[in-house]
Subunit: 521 residues, 2 copies
């Protein structure tokens, strides 16, 4: 088989070795696209090697895998910053007649080129070394609940991120340069107003919920046979429209979704025998990511536009399917009989309304990844405010544990008794991932905003969900979001799909409408 | 994670981009080894992508996978024939002080360089196109039992292989150049004498067996639950010493073994509910390949010596474990109680001696891949003699069906009534794989010859097998064969391990000693 591929490659014009110094724009365009295709092929291989490492690989295979991935990543990286790439980007950016797809490909390529080139190589190496060590220190510090041992490392990480922000550049706030890494173009100025509103309104809602009538949910912790959970999850993914010919479901400690290539979008979940929610809602969440990736236009395959446009849009899809569809009243009115017949003993005497209420219990907790949809955003607000302060130089690392507790108390009404369940709980900062958290909250905002817009086109949305008819829902999302991949920016997607920029209105409205009856507020 | 690998790569000296024009031999040595390591990393990625395609990949992922593998194969291929590689090889070959490992690496690298460079690119492309088409034609021709439609394509394939033989070069027979592809250095002159002996003696043995007392074996076709077969196969692999921390067992239509990298050697088998032999002996066969690969010295990891030295040696290991161990009397005397308690209904009233006899039934059949260990070699002899005639220009393609039937009748005593079960049964020729079949028979010869030599060191070999004590067996094989990888040639392995070149004596002796009592000859 390999012979065939080699020969095919040899017969094809192009690849990244072709010289184009005397070419026309059309030639450059083809050569540039061939080079991008090569980079995407490297990415495909890397994504598969990574997926395999997390799902299938024998334990002794780590070193060999690390070597192979390192080589492939370096090869891909070199192309992204090559002189040839620079030449293509310059020539094509200057062309007035470029087609829109290639124009956008050039913009994305330029962005990656800049990000990778602006940081001096020695500083990038120092950063990687630092964060690798910082992660080990963090893991130990969290285990031993010892923030003091982690503090000097966190200080160095944030100092280096601030240094990088200067290389990358920003208009107003150093944190803008960090946000930009995950949500291109997003700024502190935009987030501040929106997030303050989300925070204040959610805190008020939570106050009311605390005084409301708390649903019974203990039955979710009965024994649910993992094999039967798997069967039900698989069946449910098919109901939602996950294309099994283009995907598969496996089991990992931390669920994820990964796109290996066109026609190959894989998801994972985990089956906890004594907590029903984890597997099914985890699977639906990842299915939301997968529906996005499975429905990107095939015409974009092989370009650097063949992926979700931003983390905030991607997360909107996982949240839309998990919460707005999967935790809705009409959804369970329709699907509960199937679930109950699947788990007759565990759900004996539980009505669909009981079940619907139970999977929507709102309860302040210390750990972000276990939070319900209402309190989740408050966890993000704590992190956002701290990151912004650190990035701007307004906060001292030593003060973080105390500020963390204050904010948790103020927003969620509870505070951790130790740092392990507080400021040390997330891996992100030790890995240098500043600017990443806000996207989770943006995903929630976007999901509700899209659902609102979708109802203009599909006024009977709840009825559709209540009949398990998801084809029109997927069609709307494909039309507005999925098919475009990275061809549109996140901001364009939101404007075109909803008519307004991302804002807090619709999520807060959704919360109010959903939780008032549930908690008899 | 990727960031880390990139940085690590950037900080490492070397990789294939380093220029060494003014370097010392020591520098060249390091650069050459770094380039080979890169090629092996590409191979690792390719092997994983291929394994995944055969075991895990969603059906719609074919095109993307083909693209990624094509790119990686081409990148690896370019390195193997690069001017830089040529320079390294030339400089290092001239060095008088090179360490033995690097010296052998240079020899292997030179061999690959020559093989890939000697055929003009246009002819190689034509070959790939031709064999791709020929395979489709063959598949249809086999289905329709229509040799005439395949004949002109086969003619073109063999003509092109003869042309390639001229590029590659040979001393005596064009077929030598084809054999060399799978069994470096092997010639028609060597094979002719050995194979004639195997053929004539086996034909005589088979005549006697036909007149002997045929064991009862119908119980092997009772219903054996696939899940229970899997459990037993997994348990048995552990008994033989397959390292589960460095491997895994999956299910595919065609069993295979593949090495992804150090610490990652995977095997597959298939579970037929109504034929017991397929899964267990298939798994043991692949386990033999895997034991070889799992026990290559870790010091060779990352070099082009980190794999089995030839197909004939590799096949000797699968056959040793499958037949000489797994189909032996003492093996089943020991393991039959475990098997019987695993399948009490299916094996009710079957003694271990019945079972041992049943898995060793000798029965001439038309299809090679279903043949027992005695008749198998006769299938190979038919193919060897035909290939040699085609390669030498002594045989006409149009005459193949008739000659096939003649030889089958003469050697096995049966002949196919159609070409589908005759000359059209194997994919090899349509794919251009001339010279590949003999390695299967060599594997059988080598396995018996090694077993004979092993008995000099382990006189109680049968008793060890009869106690399930395989550690000394693996230790001997690791010492003599496995650890060396490609550091020794196949001929060196056989000389060092057995004291003589590959010959027919020991396989024939093994057959006589085993089948005389079994068939009461």
């Amino acid at each position: 088989m390999l012979f065939k591929w080699i020969a095919e490659l040899l017969t094809r014009r192009g690849g990244y070795e072709v010289q184009v110094s005397s070419g026309t724009t059309a030639t450059t365009r083809e050569d540039f696209r061939a080079m991008v295709k090569t980079m995407m092929d490297y990415k495909s291989a890397l994504d598969l090697l990574d997926w395999d490492a997390q799902t299938q690989m024998p334990e002794q295979g780590v070193q060999a895998r690390s070597d192979a991935m390192g080589m492939l990543a370096a090869a891909r990286f070199r192309l992204s910053v090559s002189a040839q790439m620079q030449e293509y980007l310059g020539e094509l950016a200057a062309s007035a007649t470029l087609d829109p797809v290639t124009r956008r490909m050039v913009a994305i390529g330029q962005r990656e080129y800049d990000r990778n080139c602006k940081v001096p190589e020695a500083r990038f190496q120092a950063y990687v070394t630092l964060t690798t060590q910082a992660q080990s220190v963090w893991a130990k510090a969290r285990e031993e609940d010892d923030f003091a041992s982690f503090a000097p490392w966190l200080l160095r990480v944030i100092q280096m991120k601030r240094e990088f922000a200067e290389y990358w550049g920003y208009d107003e706030h150093p944190y803008d340069a960090m946000l930009d890494e995950y949500e291109p173009g997003l700024t502190v100025a935009e987030l501040d107003a929106t997030f303050a509103l989300v925070r204040d309104q959610t805190v008020q809602l939570l106050d009311r919920i605390r005084k409301g009538r708390k649903p019974e949910a203990e039955f979710l912790q009965r024994y649910f046979d993992p094999a039967r959970q798997r069967d039900f999850s698989r069946w449910m993914l098919g109901q939602l429209g996950y294309d099994w010919r283009s995907g598969r479901l496996d089991e990992t400690a931390h669920p994820f979704c990964t796109t290996i290539g066109h026609g190959d979008v894989r998801i994972t979940t985990r089956y906890l025998p004594h907590f029903f929610n984890s597997a099914l809602f985890g699977a639906i969440h990842e299915c939301g990511h997968a529906l996005y990736e499975q429905n990107i236009s095939g015409e974009l395959f092989g370009t650097n536009l063949f992926e979700g446009t931003s983390m905030g849009i991607h997360e909107s899809q996982s949240r839309f399917w998990e919460n707005i569809v999967g935790r809705s009243e009409s959804f369970w009115e329709h699907y509960y009989p199937a679930l109950q017949s699947h788990f007759p003993d565990q759900l004996a005497g539980v009505t669909w309304r009981d079940f619907y209420a139970a999977v929507n219990v709102v309860e302040p907790s210390l750990i972000r990844v276990e939070a319900d949809e209402v309190t989740y955003n408050l966890h993000i607000m704590v992190r956002y405010e701290l990151e912004k302060g650190l990035a701007g130089g307004d906060l001292r690392v030593a003060d973080l544990p105390a500020i963390w507790r204050e904010k948790m108390q103020a927003y969620l009404g509870i505070a951790p008794g130790n740092d392990r369940d507080g400021v040390l709980q997330d891996v992100h900062w030790s890995s240098g991932l500043f600017g990443y958290f806000p996207s989770y909250a943006l995903g929630n905002l976007n999901s509700a905003q899209m659902a609102h817009a979708m109802r203009r086109a599909l006024p009977d949305l709840s009825a559709l969900i209540g009949r398990g008819e998801f084809a029109p829902v997927r069609a709307w999302l494909t039309d507005q979001v999925y098919q475009h991949g990275k061809l549109k920016t996140a901001a364009q997607i939101m404007m075109d799909a909803t008519g307004e920029p991302t804002n807090a209105t619709y999520l807060l409205k959704y919360f109010a409408e959903k939780y008032s009856p549930l908690y008899a507020l």
